[in-house]
């Protein structure tokens, strides 16, 4: 058995890696341009920061791209080795806008913008060269500025060093941004701006890494890639900050909310376990009788009702008619809740939780009861039941003591394995019942286009499912000594 667990544990990182990989692939599906205000979320939150796609400023999409390294090539970074003729070719293609579709042109612009950071000296060379056309020089200067513009460090608890760097980056960005060459600028103006760019470059050459040695290039080749950046983030558990507030990390926000979600995940499991044991027993005892048939049908129907139908039903038909069951929040508003005694608080929470719990429980209960019935039936056909019967034990004792204990093994296993499903279900329940848990957080992040939270949530969701499966296997092996995994 130890063997089995070791193998299982070895499989865990592999699975984890696969999950990271899938997340990474999805991450790379991110659209190539900042979304505009045209497609708002349902509540319109997304419109707040978008629209301005300038090289600096609080552009959340660009921040997101920088944070997850989406401005880098996927697996191998050959950009530092780009030569002058590559750049000339690229600029020429960028100039011939009419030869390609708008989307293609935009993609090309993004690509060269992303590359700019690695080819700044060459870009400057192009911008300064008076043999080039004005348009080409403008583009080269623009790309040069894009390359020089960086995102500062984001997050809470920045060190002094990082703060200083941030200040410096801010200053540089401001300076570079002023040097953008506009459409209406005259030739002299352009020359002046390019000249300033060149002097800036000379000044900074020592501090900024503009050129790389061969060894450094090899290092960049592997490390400055999307996949490497993403892996690093995951291993450091650095999932970035919440979109609207750079002082809140995603993890701290989740930790704040996890107690609500855990309540909505663990309590249902306990209740489901007790209830489905009971129903399973009844159905197995009356196998093929009327109670069995009716309960079976009932649970099947219950199982088929989607949670987003049941939850509004509970809210409208129960909560709105009986003030006893409030339909929003985890407990009463802070003002009244804080004045209550501990006992009253508990009552308050229970009152608030009954409806959401019902909404979470009913479908798992339906499935588990049917599974439990099968488990009971299987156990009932064992020899030891006949022996117990022959000994003269009553059905009640046999069912609860002998059969129940054996049937429980199956249920514990399948319950543990349903951890991920419960989490998915509670997303809708939390949203509808206005409980500020993990699921609601995730949902709001989707509407807000808060990519960091969304990515973390999917990662955490997969991880929890995985843990559920693992716990299920371990529990099965411990509860049933006959199980041998070889």
């Amino acid at each position: 058995m130890i063997d089995y667990f070791i193998r299982r544990l070895l499989l865990l990182p592999l699975t984890l890696f696969a999950i990271i990989l899938v997340n990474f692939v999805i991450l790379n599906l991110a659209p190539g341009e900042p979304v505009n205000g045209a497609n708002l979320g349902q509540l319109g939150e997304a419109s707040r920061h978008t629209g301005d796609a300038g090289p600096t400023g609080e552009n959340p999409y660009l921040l997101f791209r920088e944070h997850y390294g989406l401005t880098l090539p996927i697996l191998m970074n050959t950009w530092p080795s780009l030569k002058t003729h590559h750049i000339r070719e690229g600029i020429t293609r960028l100039l011939h806008k009419e030869e390609m579709s708008v989307q293609a042109h935009h993609d090309l612009k993004t690509l060269w913008g992303d590359r700019a950071r690695f080819i700044m000296p060459l870009l400057l060379q192009e911008a300064v060269a008076s043999t080039n056309s004005h348009e080409a020089r403008k583009i080269a200067a623009h790309l040069f500025i894009r390359g020089g513009t960086r995102q500062g460090h984001v997050g809470i608890r920045l060190t002094e060093e990082e703060k200083r760097e941030n200040r410096k980056i801010g200053e540089t960005n401001l300076l570079l941004n002023q040097l953008h060459i506009h459409e209406k600028d005259s030739v002299e103006e352009m020359e002046r701006k390019i000249g300033e760019l060149a002097s800036w470059f000379k000044l900074e050459e020592k501090e900024y890494p503009f050129t790389w040695s061969r060894a450094e290039k090899i290092e960049l080749f592997f490390l400055e890639t999307r996949f490497c950046k993403y892996l690093k983030r995951v291993f450091l558990l650095n999932f970035g900050t919440v979109r609207n507030d750079n002082n809140k990390t995603v993890i701290s926000e989740v930790v704040k909310r996890i107690k609500y979600s855990l309540t909505l995940a663990v309590i249902p499991m306990v209740i489901t376990f007790a209830l489905c044991q009971f129903f399973g027993m009844i159905m197995a005892f009356y196998q093929r009788g009327l109670p069995d048939y009716l309960l079976n049908l009932f649970f099947l129907t219950l199982f088929a009702i989607p949670v987003f139908v049941a939850a509004p039903f509970l809210i409208e038909k129960v909560a709105l008619r009986h003030t006893l069951f409030p339909y929003s929040g985890f407990h009463s508003p802070e003002e009244t809740y804080d004045t209550l005694t501990s006992l009253r608080r508990m009552g308050d929470i229970i009152r608030h939780l009954i409806l959401p719990l019902t909404a979470v429980i009913y479908s798992t209960l339906a499935i588990q009861s049917r599974i439990s019935r099968t488990a009971f039936l299987e156990a009932l056909h064992q020899d030891y039941v006949r022996t117990a019967r022959a000994k003269g034990l009553g059905w009640m004792t046999i069912l609860t003591k002998h059969v129940g204990r054996n049937a429980a093994v199956t249920i514990v296993t399948s319950l543990a394995a349903s951890l991920g499903v419960v989490l998915g279900g509670s997303l809708i329940v939390e949203t509808l019942f206005d409980i500020n848990g993990f699921g609601k957080f995730f949902y709001e992040a989707i509407l807000n286009r808060d990519y960091n939270v969304v990515l973390f949530s999917a990662f955490a969701g997969s991880l929890l499912t995985l843990v559920g499966y693992f716990v299920a296997d371990v529990a099965y092996a411990f509860l049933d000594p006959r199980v041998s995994y070889s």
Binding site: L11, L14, T15, A18, I19, V22, N23, I26, L27, L29, A30, P31, V35, N39, G41, Q42, R288, N296, L297, L300, T301, F303, A304, I305, P306, V307, F308, V309, P312, F313, I315, E316, A319, L320, Y327, T374, G420, V421, L423, G424, L427, I428, T431, F442, Y443, A445, I446, L447, R449, Y451, V454, L455, S457, A458, G461, S462, T465, L466, Y469
Partner: protein
């Protein structure tokens, strides 16, 4: 198998229900369309319904056009199933499917011209619209009176608005005779008038959505989306799951180990979360993306099942005989073992369909479904915006969705009982 199935009354009833839903969804335009089937106008017969049936300007969703084609190919396929046997039947169905796809591609790429290019049709459309709106106006007579009494002004039906805007009285007598659509005289994508205020006075079948489209028509066309999602997602799942499961089961050993570990890993991805994640990251709300994702993350159970079956079958004599005859592995796997191993998978299909349908509806309910589609989830999402309080827009789609899901679940359960009576 049908004989086994028939013994379960509930299952038969549920199956009938599902088939009924399918037929209603398939022939939805017959029930709700603003174009009448037959019009006798100025002494000539016109068939606007059929002229508009494949026009992408009228049915703007490709899925509707696909179903509109299927309205004709489906009965032909059924007839073919009765007429032909074995090889001929296969050929027939295959060519029919090819025809459907070719015609569909032709229609979507703009093969059908706008019927309104014809002056006659344009004039006729105006007359038909006028008379249908007038008919609605008159039909609502009772509700209009109540509306007038309680709010103090006239109910703004489409006809009343047209009148106020100074529409000329069109001479309807020229419209001698007309057979309109069976239930509702509105296409689901068209303005059907109405408002939240009006909704409080009209009977339920006259309700309109918040974007002033006909609710009943939208519900009918919603069947199409739900069933399409269910079938297409499961089909994708089968296409991935069956070959993988068969290969794993047949070769066993190392191949099996690798594939099975892969399945286990893939299973750990929570489908619904992944669906939300992909839609959120790509910012691409489309039905086809949803279907593909549901298929991609929903094949593992098929693989497991098939693998188990094939593992059992591969020890049997006929496989040994095939091997002895020197058949290639591919032929043994897919030509001999698979037909014997595939039937138990039938019991999984209804439940997989259920999962796909409810996932799509849940996603739309959360406001992440295809915009402008008439999926029941989208309708429920609209109902949610006035919830709780005025929930009359929420319950009709919720009820229909629940009925369909329960019916499919019952079919699945009965199927399992019928195929494997041991489990009962």
């Amino acid at each position: 198998m049908w004989k086994q199935f028939r013994r379960y009354k509930v299952g038969v009833a549920a199956f009938t229900c599902v088939v009924l839903f399918f037929l209603i969804g398939l022939y939805a335009p017959f029930f709700a369309s603003s174009k009448p089937f037959v019009v006798l106008w100025k002494g000539h017969f016109y068939f606007p319904f059929f002229r508009y049936l494949f026009y992408p300007g009228f049915y703007t969703k490709p899925i509707d056009l696909f179903y509109n084609l299927l309205m004709f190919t489906f009965p032909i396929a059924m007839v073919g199933l009765f007429l032909f046997k074995a090889r001929k039947r296969k050929m027939f169905l295959f060519s029919l499917a090819a025809l459907q796809l070719i015609l569909f591609a032709w229609i979507v790429s703009g093969g059908v011209k706008d019927p309104e290019q014809d002056e006659e049709i344009r004039a006729l459309n105006q007359v038909v619209r006028y008379s249908l709106r007038k008919a609605q106006h008159e039909r609502l007579g009772h509700a209009r009176l109540r509306f007038q009494k309680e709010t103090g002004h006239e109910m703004p039906t489409l006809f009343a608005i047209d009148q106020r805007n100074g529409q000329k009285e069109i001479e309807t007598p020229s419209l001698q005779w007309m057979i309109p659509a069976l239930v509702r005289p509105f296409h689901w994508e068209e303005n059907a008038g109405g408002s939240q205020l009006m909704n409080q006075y009209v009977p339920w079948w006259e309700l309109t959505r918040i974007n002033r489209k006909d609710l009943f028509a939208s519900l009918l066309f919603g069947v199409r989306i739900s069933l399409f999602v269910g079938i297409a997602a499961v089909a994708i799942g089968l296409m991935i799951g069956i070959p993988l499961g068969t290969v794993a089961g047949y070769f066993a050993g190392k191949v099996d180990l690798v594939i099975f570990r892969g399945i286990e890993i893939w299973e750990a991805m929570p489908t619904f979360f992944m669906l939300l994640l992909i839609v959120a990251i790509t910012q691409h709300k489309s039905l086809f993306l949803v279907i593909i994702v549901l298929g991609l993350f929903g094949w593992t159970s098929f693989s497991r099942f098939i693998r188990g079956e094939v593992l059992k079958q591969r020890e049997l004599c006929y496989v040994l005989a095939c091997k002895g005859l020197g058949y290639p592995a591919r032929r043994i796997m897919f030509g001999h073992i698979l037909p014997n191993a595939i039937s138990p998978i039938l019991t999984l299909l209804p439940f997989a369909m259920m999962g796909a349908i409810s996932s799509e509806a849940a996603l739309s309910f959360l406001g992440l479904g295809e915009e402008g589609a008439t999926s029941w989830g989208v309708l429920m999402d609209e109902g949610r915006s006035v919830f709780p309080g005025e929930s009359y827009l929420l319950w009709p789609p919720a009820l229909l969705l629940t009925i369909v899901l329960i019916a499919i679940a019952l079919v699945g359960d009965t199927l399992r009982d019928a195929l494997d009576p041991k489990l009962r």
